[in-house]
Symmetry: C2
Amino acid sequence: MKILAHPTREQLELPTVLDCLGDPTRLAIVHGLAQHERVGTELRCGNFSGVGAKSNLAYHFGRLRETGVIRVRIEGTARYISLRREDLEARFPGLLDAILAAAARDVDRLALADCTFTAPANETPQAQSSRA
Amino acid sequence: MKILAHPTREQLELPTVLDCLGDPTRLAIVHGLAQHERVGTELRCGNFSGVGAKSNLAYHFGRLRETGVIRVRIEGTARYISLRREDLEARFPGLLDAILAAAARDVDRLALADCTFTAPANETPQAQSSRA
DNA sequence: TCCTAAGTTCAAAATCTATTGAACAATGAG
DNA sequence: CTCATTGTTCAATAGATTTTGAACTTAGGA
């Protein structure tokens, strides 16, 4: 089992993060992650669709991870994705929230609709509430 | 005398703006503009240096204008530049401030130092103090 | 008028990005 | 073991980005 390389909090760079989120596909992924956070379950790479070939999805997730926007945890053959909210907030206060709020407001304007995900039922062991 | 095309406030797009500011050179320009705002004088394109050839500066200013990040006012042969703070704030609340604050905090880390400007003495008619 | 300063536009080059399909690796199930 | 699932890596490609120098425009003096 491999552990993927992530930049440390201190290594996060502003232009890199902005550039990373400037891509509509990646912004859509991050928006989707943020929207899904309240559900409590974790999303896998494969939950996302509408981004083209599988290899393209891997490419964008790679970029999001290398940039430090998301964290990727390997478990079996699956990779669970989460937003690095605390790290981003510590380095760039208010930035992620402003971006997510703007993305949420513009959701129909962006190509965000192209990137959707099918939410998992109750795949992660730790996080499911009593009612579905 | 020409008037340059600017997107309207409503036409500002989040991915476009993020992508535009994801470039270190343009981020440096915008940071410089914001830093200079308190002085009260307007900056021209030519006040900036360290960005390479003149045509490259024109390229980046063109991009910033088309994206809606800056406004460019022509006066004679000079072009006066200003940040579109209100428009950006209206469309993406908190975004510009978060970016500028982060850029200011990371100022020595970024290549911002490469892009400097020589502030004008008292070129704009409305804003000059008594001291030279 | 002629000159200069400010900035643009164009074409070319070097580089980077996004996308795809095919082949590959790793894990868990039957 | 065998097989399907999950996702990666590779090579190729099409397109976008950044950068440069040279030629050009425009306005304001001397």
